[in-house]
Amino acid sequence: MHEMSIAQSLVDILQEEMVKNNAGSLKSVKLNIGKLSAIVPEALSFCFEIIVSGTNMEGADLIMEMIPLKGICLDCDQAFEIEDYAFSCPHCDSPNIRTISGQDLSIVEMEVE
């Protein structure tokens, strides 16, 4: 289950930020989870809880915003939501598209005390 190694990477970054900001405890973390990342939010939550148990991050809320997969057509300039992972323009059928959102897996903000 690779959500475990992702949760570990997340905790490592949070730990670093908490030390940098002299934080005592973590209240919440906001994440952007792009649809293409194929992360299962419940699995990530579960793994996060396991890793932070007994630490100064225990009990923190993991707030996950799911970011839809969006693209822009390089031929007709139209932006669109990519449905069913079909990576071509729904307006002109061109395969020359650029993905503009939905690929990332990032921390946005954390709340500490």
């Binding site: 289950m1 690779h2 190694s5 992702i6 990477s9 997340l10 490592d12 970054i13 930020e17 900001n21 934080a23 994440l31 293409l36 990342s37 194929a38 069913d84 992972y85 079909a86 990576f87 071509s88 395969p95 990332d104 897996l105 990032s106 921390i107 946005v108 903000e109 954390m110 709340e111 500490v112 005390e113």
Partner: protein
């Protein structure tokens, strides 16, 4: 107190993958990350490919499996440098694991380094290791609905090798449907239809791969 972070969670792995990449570039080394389900034919493809190419191209292989060194032993019989990584449980290889093998190779002497990833159609697509490109194998016995079910893997791979075409008469699967479904997800994918068993279709793959190595040597 709210702290704005704005960091890619996989930044640590991406950074190591970039460092790996820089080292590979210093040696003009082409690196291929080879992925598929268990049993689709990664090691068989490598055996065939190494046999065909080793007079022209110096190849090294990193084998990734949860347990066992059987794949590395198969490759070692071809008398080329090979290192086996046993993850012990991790379902994919990452940049760090690849970096840890560098002392076992003379990277300057290699033209092509193949990372044979853990058999898994899900997780390896998520993790960069510093490769030039990802190649994946789908065998006809797995079914032609797999692109729709595993979109990230098909999206991330530049190359798809449809293997075991000698078994087409015995399965309810068409290469036409695999192509159609794969190209919906990745319209720029290069697709080969092959049989590692009979040798059908492999010449085109060898030529393509040699061209990839040649183009990086020039650069």
């Amino acid at each position: 107190m709210k702290i704005s972070v704005v960091k890619n969670i996989l930044e640590a792995n991406d950074r190591i993958a970039e460092q790996n990449r820089s080292l590979f570039d210093e040696h003009s080394l082409t690196v291929m990350n080879l992925m598929s389900s268990p049993g689709a034919g990664k090691t068989s493809l490598l055996e065939r490919t190494i046999q065909a190419l080793k007079e022209d191209i110096s190849v090294g292989v990193i084998e990734g499996d949860i347990q066992s060194s059987q794949d590395a032993e198969r490759i070692a019989r071809m008398e080329i440098p090979v290192v086996q990584i046993n993850t012990g449980g991790a379902c994919h290889l990452d940049g760090n694991m690849i970096r840890d093998t560098f002392d076992e190779f003379d990277l300057a002497a290699l033209d092509l380094l193949v990372v044979e990833n853990v058999g898994n159609l899900v997780c390896p697509a998520e993790f960069k290791v510093g490769e030039d490109f990802k190649a994946m194998i789908l065998s006809v016995t797995e079914g032609d609905d797999k692109p729709a079910k595993y979109p990230l893997m098909f999206h991330e791979s530049s190359v798809l090798l449809i293997n075991k075409i000698d078994l087409l008469p015995y399965v309810d699967c068409t290469v036409e449907r695999i192509r159609e479904e794969a190209l919906k997800i990745n319209p720029h994918m290069t697709i080969f239809e092959i049989s590692c068993k009979t040798g059908d279709g492999l010449e085109a793959w060898y030529e393509w791969l040699k061209q990839q190595v040649r183009s990086r040597k020039k650069a």
